[in-house]
């Protein structure tokens, strides 16, 4: 059984809360109009035990919203979330509490995700004390050993977050997530705010810790080369839908969806230099308020057919475990 299974997850945000906000003048008449951002539109995937699934896509594709929804920071509009076989979709905060110990999150911005008024050691102790994982006598020692494990010196334990660099703060964020020894970690762009040499250090650290602590991971990223490096399985998102998913090997070796292909062609690379000569894709990601009819990618797609304007494509299995949602496949 998969550790996490998500089926048909839908998340949307109503921009016009309240009746008055919905009223709008159109051609001299007052009309009622709703503006809803459709962030996630029917996403299904599984995270297997001990594996890393990466969701990759450009800004606004709904990858971070998906992450926040499955750990129930935001309530889903519809769809189901199973954790270890248990349906947690409608759990109350109190019912979620034991799961908070099992699911942890690493955030993108190491400058915003640590409390500036807490010492590092307190940041690490708090979750352990809250979840009763350590007695007050041993908690400090545990926190210090954790700090050591992520590559910080124990004498730095009584400092405040502002005394650390971005990479060091991200190490603290990772240590905090590991403090409760979770089974499942959601990492939302954990390295995108870091310089490349620091990014490499953090990626190596994450991979070592994964082997040591044996957690499963949902990794959210926009950088394909980082995803290639860290994941076992990959899902490519576009406008709130997963357009292609499968094992990393399959998706990277034979990408089938035109968006995935374009994404690969757009990545600048130091060795090959193919980006300049590749075709890439024209246009930009449409607004998530008025979703296009049919396939969400059709207006940018180089190989669109009439049917793409009309019907949303169904997911098809092109090889074992490799799914693509495209009419052309």
């Amino acid at each position: 059984m998969s550790l996490l299974e998500v089926t048909d997850l839908v998340q949307s945000f109503d921009l016009t809360r309240g009746f008055l906000a919905k009223l709008r003048f159109r051609g001299g008449r007052l009309v009622r109009e709703e503006r809803v951002v459709h962030a996630v539109n029917g996403v299904s995937f599984r995270v297997e035990r001990g594996k890393v699934l990466s969701l990759v896509g450009e800004s606004g594709c709904g990858k971070s919203t998906t992450a926040k929804t499955i750990i129930r920071l935001i309530d889903p509009k519809s769809g189901r979330i199973f954790y270890d076989g248990i349906d947690i979709t409608r759990f109350s905060p109190l019912e979620m509490r034991p799961f908070r110990k099992k699911m942890q999150m690493i955030f993108q911005d190491p400058f915003a995700s640590l409390n500036p008024r807490q010492k590092v050691v307190d940041i690490l102790q708090e979750p352990m004390i809250f979840h009763k994982l350590a007695t007050p006598t041993e908690v400090r020692e545990k926190a210090l050993s954790l700090l050591n494990r992520v590559g910080l010196r124990t004498e730095q334990a009584d400092r405040y977050p502002h005394q650390f660099s971005g990479g060091q703060r991200q190490r603290i964020g990772i240590a905090r997530a590991l403090a409760v020894e979770p089974e499942f970690i959601v990492a939302d762009e954990p390295v995108s705010a870091l310089d490349v040499s620091i990014q490499a250090q953090i990626l190596n650290l994450l991979m070592d810790l994964k082997d040591e602590f044996r957690f499963s991971c949902l990794f959210i990223a926009h950088d394909l080369s980082v995803v290639k490096h860290i994941s076992d399985d990959v899902g490519v998102m576009y406008l709130g839908k997963i357009v292609e998913k499968g094992s990393k090997k399959d998706v990277f070796a034979h990408p089938a969806h035109p968006y995935t292909k374009a994404l690969f062609a757009s990545v600048p690379s130091i060795s090959a230099g193919k980006m300049m000569s590749s075709k890439g894709i024209e246009g930009e990601i449409p607004s998530a308020i008025d979703l296009p009819n049919g396939c969400v990618f059709h207006d940018r797609c180089p190989s669109r057919k009439p049917v793409c304007h009309e019907e949303p494509p169904v997911e098809r299995e092109v090889e074992v475990g490799h799914f693509v949602a495209c009419h052309n496949v």
Partner: protein, 328 residues
């Protein structure tokens, strides 16, 4: 040479001490050349760009050196004389397309401002030229969009508008400071292709400042790698990328996960960038260097030739490997 920078020093004087943000930097840009400047945050690459534009503000100060642009010494010019050059002969593209356009003017007005200041066109000709410029940067329906405000445009489209403004007065040199860092990868590819095509077509020169080695390797003719305010390696793009000779450049390239390679671990540069207030006495990179020897801690290294002509590194042990360097 279109631009020649000699021993440029830009220091910031603060209460905590002096930050030598740019320390003895020399380079040249030829006509029609794209020069890439790479380095991590805080290495002085942007300050170098700002120094050339004369945009250094208190507490910063250009403390020494010379900047020769088309035969003129930029550092000796008055503010008024600099205003003649900024925008007309050297223009700049900034990183954040969301903040570098003025939100209360239409984009037509903002492009036209450049033409009013730096050309003798009549209002009608200016209008026509604005449309041409917008078309050349790939904005659909340019006539219709002249009266739109910046918030009507997406990030990628705004960056196109900014490029149109930068090109309006037909500058000889464009300084682009992280022009695509805020953009998504498919949009980045569009903008980079557009910039390269426009630069080549108009035969102007470009100084491309970025943290992304992959971007410069796709764009630049020559590359300069900076670390802690100094140039550590310089050479033709292919030479630097295929044959990185300074240990820092080697580390940077090793740190990038590659799409076409399978490796379980990335090479890393251990440690972090030193505090700019307390730079090491010898080579700035010595505390993080794998090949560091005794001399590196005491003496600042000079430039020396790496393998090929025009490929220079600032390191005591050429290529790090020979001369009995110890791996630490």
């Amino acid at each position: 040479m279109l631009l020649e920078v000699r021993n440029l020093k830009t220091f910031f004087h603060t209460f905590r001490g002096t930050v030598r943000a740019v320390d003895d930097v020399s380079f040249t840009i030829a006509k029609g050349e794209i020069l890439g400047i790479v380095g991590e945050s805080g290495c002085g690459k942007s300050v170098t760009g700002f120094s050339i534009m004369g945009l250094i503000e208190e507490p910063g100060k250009v403390a020494g050196g010379e900047i020769l642009f088309d035969g003129r010494r930029l550092l000796d010019l008055s503010d008024n004389q600099m205003n003649e050059i900024r925008g007309k002969e050297i223009s700049m593209i900034f990183q954040d397309p969301m903040t570098s356009l003025n939100p209360v003017y239409t984009i037509g007005e903002q492009i036209e401002e450049m033409l009013t200041l730096h050309s003798s066109l009549s209002p009608r000709e200016r209008r026509k030229r604005c449309v041409e410029l917008l078309r050349s940067v790939g904005i659909p329906n340019p006539e219709g969009r002249l009266n739109d405000y910046p918030h009507h445009f997406s990030g990628g489209m705004r960056q196109r508008v900014i490029i149109a403004i930068a090109l309006a007065a037909e500058p000889k040199l464009i300084v682009a400071d992280e022009p695509t860092t805020a953009l998504d990868v498919t949009i980045q590819a569009q903008i980079l292709k557009l910039m390269k095509a426009l630069v080549r077509e108009r035969n102007c020169s470009m100084m491309l400042i970025t943290h992304d080695l992959a971007v410069v390797s796709e764009m630049a003719d020559r590359i300069i790698v900076m670390y802690c305010g100094q140039i550590v390696e310089e050479g033709r793009a292919r030479d630097v990328i295929e044959n990185p000779s300074h240990p820092y450049t080697q580390g940077l390239i090793g740190s990038i996960p590659k799409l076409n390679e399978d490796k379980s671990r990335l090479e890393t540069i251990h440690g972090i960038v030193p505090n700019m207030f307390e730079l090491p006495e010898g080579c700035n990179f010595s505390p993080r260097c794998r090949f560091c020897r005794e001399i590196c801690f005491g003496v600042k290294p000079d430039f020396r030739l790496a393998n090929t002509e025009g490929h220079l590194i600032r390191c005591h042990s050429a290529c790090g490997v020979s001369e009995g360097g110890n791996e630490v």
